[in-house]
């Protein structure tokens, strides 16, 4: 990273050393720690040189928001306050980002839905805000358990959308996420999603970078849109909003700007590949049976693959890390040998399977399922059962809960 007035090597007020992010993430020593996902979010933000966090503690994200409040009390975050609703929080995040701050927030489920109007606005205004989405059920009857339906609504907002499998992904991707989001040729918000409870409330081993190293601060002058200058094209939306449709130029500007947002999503591809080591992880792609999944469904898939191995059935795995940008080429290549592609999902509609079907040739190979929803768990046994049934193998009925 070429910076003319580099702060690398200098210390912040907490005594942390601003460190080259690539070195911090890839070369610095790591300490294994046994933490919940929420504690891991706190530890990542401790190292993220965040200027502002705005919180509306909707459950189950309350732990992360509360823990980051502690970080603020300790002096690690520039400013921290609570909004009166999720909509207010996301609007306030925009204000902070317009002012040139590195902004962090968290939400979940109905909160995400309530704040939805802001997300295309963030993308359109090219604000590199990072929002943690700890997915939970959105429909009535109310549920606070994990369900990934809300991700489907985020896919067309123009935000980058990543789906973490584990707390380790979370720790690394929060920090790396800012690097991708803040690139001048990207400069878009990131929705970093995980399945609530399965990541946030689960204690697992996570390897942390040193606490005395932190990200270089956000440089708002790398923004393609001048900060706090709503009068300056191309986002002159306050005084002369395109919604007025005053003349052909405003039509054309709006249309081209939408294309530019999605071009920026595409341009994030090369940075995401570099930082995440590829948009997907693929294992045993020569197998005839593949599981393609994102989030916790990947973990459950890994366990199912172990169970299938015990029965002599070989099954490969694709872990989809980024949903936007969508890893079209990568998925096509990784599934080219597969005769059966199973897409386990923690939602009722199967949005990931639909994306995959729209991507690969011979999409009849895709078995959309198994699905669980409304906060239910997906035992690996039901993935095994789905696969064996599709292959015409004998399966035993699962004496599950409630039988």
């Amino acid at each position: 990273m070429a910076e003319t007035h580099s702060v690398i090597g200098t210390k912040n007020k907490k005594g942390q050393t601003y460190t080259d992010t690539w070195k911090m993430m890839n070369e610095a020593p790591r300490t294994p720690s046994f933490y919940t996902g929420s504690e891991v979010i706190k530890e990542a933000i401790r190292r993220a040189s965040c200027d502002v966090m705005i919180a509306y503690p909707i459950t189950p994200q309350s732990e992360a928001a509360a823990l980051i409040g502690e970080l603020f009390a300790e002096g690690y975050i520039g400013d921290y306050f609570r909004g009166e609703s999720e909509f207010a929080v996301m609007s306030q995040c925009a204000g902070a980002a317009f002012g040139g701050a590195r902004v962090f927030t968290t939400t979940a489920g109905p909160g995400t839905m309530r704040a939805m109007e802001n997300f295309p606005m963030w993308a359109g205004a090219r604000l590199p805000i990072q929002m943690i989405v700890t997915c939970r059920g959105i429909n009535s009857p109310l549920s606070i358990q994990p369900d990934t339906l809300e991700i489907a609504y985020l896919l067309n907002t123009g935000m980058l959308v990543w789906h973490a499998e584990t707390a380790q992904d979370f720790f690394d991707w929060i920090l790396k996420g800012y690097m991708v989001s803040e690139e001048p040729d990207v400069h878009l918000p990131l929705a970093l999603c995980c399945d609530g409870f399965f990541v946030t409330h689960t204690k697992d081993v996570v390897n942390l970078t040193p606490a005395d190293m932190c990200l270089p601060p956000y440089d708002p002058y790398r923004s393609p849109v001048p900060c706090m200058d709503m009068e300056c094209p191309p986002v002159r939306m306050m005084r002369d909003p395109f919604v007025m449709k005053s003349n052909y130029i405003s039509y054309a500007t709006h249309a081209s700007w939408q294309q530019e947002i999605w071009a920026a999503v595409e341009r994030s591809r090369k940075h995401s590949i570099k930082w995440l080591n590829g948009l997907i992880d693929a294992e045993n792609t020569d197998a005839e049976i593949m599981i393609v999944a994102s989030g916790t469904a990947v973990s459950q898939g890994r366990e199912a693959i172990r169970l299938l191995e015990d029965e002599g059935v070989r099954c490969g795995l694709v872990k989809v890390k980024t949903l936007r940008p969508w890893p079209e080429e990568e998925i096509r290549e990784a599934t080219k040998n597969a005769k059966h592609i199973f897409v386990p999902e923690f939602n009722v509609t199967g949005w990931l399977a639909k994306e995959i079907k729209a991507t690969i040739p011979n999409h009849h190979r895709v078995h959309a399922g198994p699905h669980v929803c409304g906060g239910m768990t997906m035992p690996p046994e039901i993935i095994v059962s789905e696969i064996k049934t599709a292959l015409g193998m004998k399966t035993f009925s699962l004496a599950g809960r409630g039988s």
Binding site: E63, T202, K203, Q300, M376, E381, G400, R401
Partner: protein, 235 residues
């Protein structure tokens, strides 16, 4: 029976510390060099509503998470889990694996004839412990009931060592720990019961130890053997 992984389901009521118990067990297993994962499942935080937590302990990396549908061990923290159906399943032992163990916190037997027969058919052993009474006797508060549940499962399965439990308890209660508003206020409530934090640690540990001994003795007497290890090496 020696298994590569031991899956423990803890069914309790909100406020009893089932979530904490699973976390402490997983932290202890991690200290012992085993692989472990723990996670809770509950609705809006409220006392006496069903709350479950799950602890998985094994000899290889664990990916599986979420509700434990097919557990090896079920711990019932409160009689109402059984008598009032305050469980995420009906009956509370749905999904238990053959050769498993059910641990119930109750001074009296609670199972119906049908339950007893079904568990017997699955070769599942049932261990009753008067955990709340034990907690009141040793720690002076029913809030230490979860310690008797930790001691029971550790005593029967030996899946974590007493040293590791000691360390995990210190890690959990020895420093400031914020989980959520509800948990924080419960932590405060229990701390007020003891003059000093050290006393809390000491009394909790004593409660774990006593339950461990009682459970250990029961397992030996009844030839209940459920262990975490490598079955191939054992055979």
């Amino acid at each position: 029976m020696i298994k590569k992984r031991l899956n423990i389901r803890m069914s309790g009521l909100g406020g009893q510390g089932a979530v904490t118990a699973a976390h402490v067990m997983a932290m202890a297993a991690n200290r012992d060099g085993k692989f472990s994962i723990s996670n809770p499942f509950f609705g809006a935080e409220k006392r006496m509503a069903p709350a479950e937590s799950y602890c998985r302990i094994g000899i290889e990396r664990i990916y599986d998470r979420g509700e434990l549908v097919f557990p090896d061990v079920i711990e019932v923290f409160h009689p109402q889990v059984i008598t009032m159906g305050k469980s995420y399943t009906m009956p509370f032992y749905s999904g238990i694996k053959e050769g498993g163990v059910v641990i119930i916190n109750s001074a009296q037997p609670l199972l119906s004839e049908e339950d007893i027969q079904r568990l017997k058919d699955l070769n599942v052993a049932t261990f009753y412990i008067a955990g709340t009474e034990l907690a009141i006797e040793i720690a002076g508060t029913e809030l230490s009931t979860n310690m008797t549940m930790i001691g029971s499962v550790a005593g029967i399965t030996k899946c974590v060592s007493m040293e590791a439990l000691d360390g995990a308890l210190q890690e959990r209660f020895g420093k400031k720990f914020v989980a959520s508003g509800g948990t924080a206020s419960l932590d405060e409530a229990i701390k007020k019961k003891f003059a000093k934090k050290e006393m809390l640690l000491q009394k909790n540990l004593a409660t774990v130890k006593r339950a461990y001994e009682i459970a250990s003795e029961w397992a030996e007497k009844n030839h209940v053997e459920l262990r975490v290890g490598n079955p191939a090496v054992a055979a």
